[in-house]
Symmetry: C2
Subunit: 411 residues, 2 copies
């Protein structure tokens, strides 16, 4: 099964930089918001690259793109690989794009060396992974996977009131294929880690064994707006002081789990937010993550048990947005990633994905694995996001070998 | 010196409601931002009311209005009274307006009863007490008192880039009088407490003995934006967690002073403020107040001594905006307020003003006192700001008696 075929490092990097021109920002990042004209330009360039290799490109009802290379055995279901081309508003060049462009490089290498695989291979660009425009991350893969009903997804609106369905039509990417799982052999996604672990341990490859369990909340603390100069301590109901205690609680609960736990307050809105008014209302987010669902449920239970008392004399209202079980990836697919890294002598480690990825939803229907590569300082969702060309190439080579092994496996 | 003359409660309330029509908001509050057309309408109505009583109205270079009623002795300097007619963007009907309209009722009562005072009496409407539009509270009284140079004040701009000088011209209220202290006998200001103390103790009158000392800071905590799902505790520099510790510190420092201390974080801005990003930057305000300047300096010193360590591993940058000494009011003027409340059998207590008021700057040049009346739930800077008609009348009656006593005192 092993091969000496190597992907073309320079061609990979050049395609990454070519895609990064579309929506390039002055600070070296990318703004390629989903279903905008900029996204269309990225999709068009991607489609042209695929068609130049003789791949046939299908588009489904939510805009997901599938570029197919036939295999020798027409009865076999395809091996999928891919990621997403949309970005955050102040995003980087590699979040998502690496997985799609590395998949393109896999296709180009197969084409260049005239390699025929047993199973077909399809390269996927999932619509709207980021959720920045319509407030719904993993929209394309989640709709495809049947988690979000298509009609509901179509009705989501951006800040200007534009509906998803109309945005798809506007850029010509509402396709005729149904957006639902089809018979597929497996799915492989290469992605930057978006965290510091691989870099810190000088590992080139993360063998992703699954995705963390998560519980997300919206929190509102209601106290009483009051004049900061005239309101004595005994008369205050300061929503910000109450929030501060809960922020520290979330942090303590996280730290009690060593390096496996995550607990974050990322969003805060203070009202009335005036320097001489005691804040009467604070709205904020709370999220917990852990590789083990039982443990993340314990974290959430610790928080909810303690939070009301900490918020007093203010009133705390917690709304649970969702709880997601951990999503383990497929052992056989994970094994192919591990084998490839080993064969290539790349320093690797197993890792649990802390972020959500299209692979997490795809894994509900199809055997799935992910490959992580390091990113500088663990930075992502940031224009300064940066990776090394040799690390991108190593990730793409592992993707190539895992996909090739899977497509040629004995049935 | 005592008099049985009573102000007209119904006329006072009716004038308050008439002024509240100008800039009325749907929720029952007032939006009468300084030097806008709405402010002009309020000023014009005020001027017309004054002129109908035969008062002569002067306007100075910063738009402060002085409505003069002559006394018997032309050699005597005038007794001043007043407050401000501008409001917060979502302000109430009484913050400022009560002091001006009660002063008008004093003038109307003197007029109605043909009372001649020894000294002249002048009713003042100070420009831009709130600071909501040009970011500079107590602008009119502070410029008049020589604390802010006129040319610098003229150059301040609102959010649309409009300069103070041009805004004054636009509403026709840049007057010919110099904006600087003139010979005056005293200044009395009636104002709602904007705090809960009088209401809680069921006192109708606050005998204000002075204003608190204050120290204000801007704070910036710099950590590192990072993905909330992928960044383990050991790699986090969460600016919000650091801020939370400082918010609690400020609260502890306040509470250690019993009910005399004030310590508030009222303004918070989190960056990037996204629910799945560990916050890399938080900007916030810190302010301390206390009746005793030495004590407020200790509070600030405690905070600055402890804050850096609490912010670690993030970096804290503190900018002191100003430190204001406590401003004691004039014992003789305070005595007149106390006497009036006593004579009228009104439940009263001494109180230190926690808020800034025009009286604080006027007091630097002229013997000054203030009268507080309760407001419902201590609420102010809020459209729900509310007072009882009989409390407004009690405050106006005390103002009437104190001003009359001062204007007729033996020299």
């Amino acid at each position: 099964m092993a091969t000496n075929t190597r992907i073309d490092d320079a061609r990979l990097w050049s395609a990454l930089m070519s895609m990064a021109e579309i929506g390039a920002t002055p600070k070296g990042g990318v703004k390629r918001l989903t279903l905008t004209d900029v996204d269309r330009a990225g999709r068009d360039r991607f489609r042209a690259w695929c068609e130049a290799l003789g791949l046939s490109v299908r588009v489904d009802a939510i805009g997901n793109m599938f570029a197919r290379r036939e295999g020798r055995d027409p009865a076999r279901p395809p091996v999928l690989m891919g990621s997403h081309l949309d970005s955050q508003p102040s995003g980087g060049k590699f979040d998502g794009a690496l997985g799609v462009i590395a998949g393109l490089e896999v296709m180009r290498t197969l084409h260049e060396h005239a390699i025929q695989t047993e199973a077909p291979i399809e390269l996927v660009n999932w619509t709207d992974e980021e959720g920045s425009r319509f407030g719904h991350s993993l929209m394309g893969s989640g709709t495809w996977a049947g988690i979000f009903p298509l009609e509901k997804t179509y009705g989501l609106r951006d800040a200007d009131g534009v509906r998803v369905e109309d945005a798809l039509d506007a850029i010509g990417y509402r396709g005729p294929e149904p957006a639902r799982p089809f018979a597929a052999d497996s799915y492989f996604e290469l992605h930057i880690e978006q965290g510091p672990i691989l870099e810190r341990e000088a590992r080139t490859i993360g063998i992703v064994t699954g995705a963390q369990a998560q519980i997300w909340y919206d929190a509102v603390i209601t106290g009483q707006d009051a004049h900061a100069g005239t309101t004595p301590p005994s008369a205050r109901r300061d929503a910000l002081v109450s929030m501060a205690r809960i922020v520290e609680l979330v942090d303590r609960i996280m730290r009690a789990r060593g390096d496996d736990g995550r607990g974050t307050v990322g969003f805060v809105q203070v009202g009335p937010n005036s320097r001489n008014v005691v804040p009467g209302e604070v709205r904020f987010s709370i999220e917990f993550r852990h590789p083990d669902f039982a443990e993340v449920q314990k974290m959430a239970a610790e928080m909810t048990a303690a939070a009301d008392a900490l918020a007093a004399p203010c009133r705390l209202e917690l709304t649970e947005l969702f709880r997601l079980d951990a999503q383990p990836f497929d052992p056989a697919c994970i094994g192919l990633v591990r084998d490839a890294a080993q064969r290539l002598n790349l320093p690797a480690r197993e890792i649990v994905s802390g972020a959500g990825h299209d692979a997490v939803y795809v894994a509900r229907h199809i055997p799935t694995a992910m490959i992580f590569t390091p990113c500088k300082d663990g930075l992502s969702h940031n224009e300064a996001e940066s990776i090394e060309p040799h690390e991108a190439a190593a990730g793409a080579q592992v993707l190539f070998e895992a996909v090739l092994a899977r497509a040629n496996r004995a049935l």
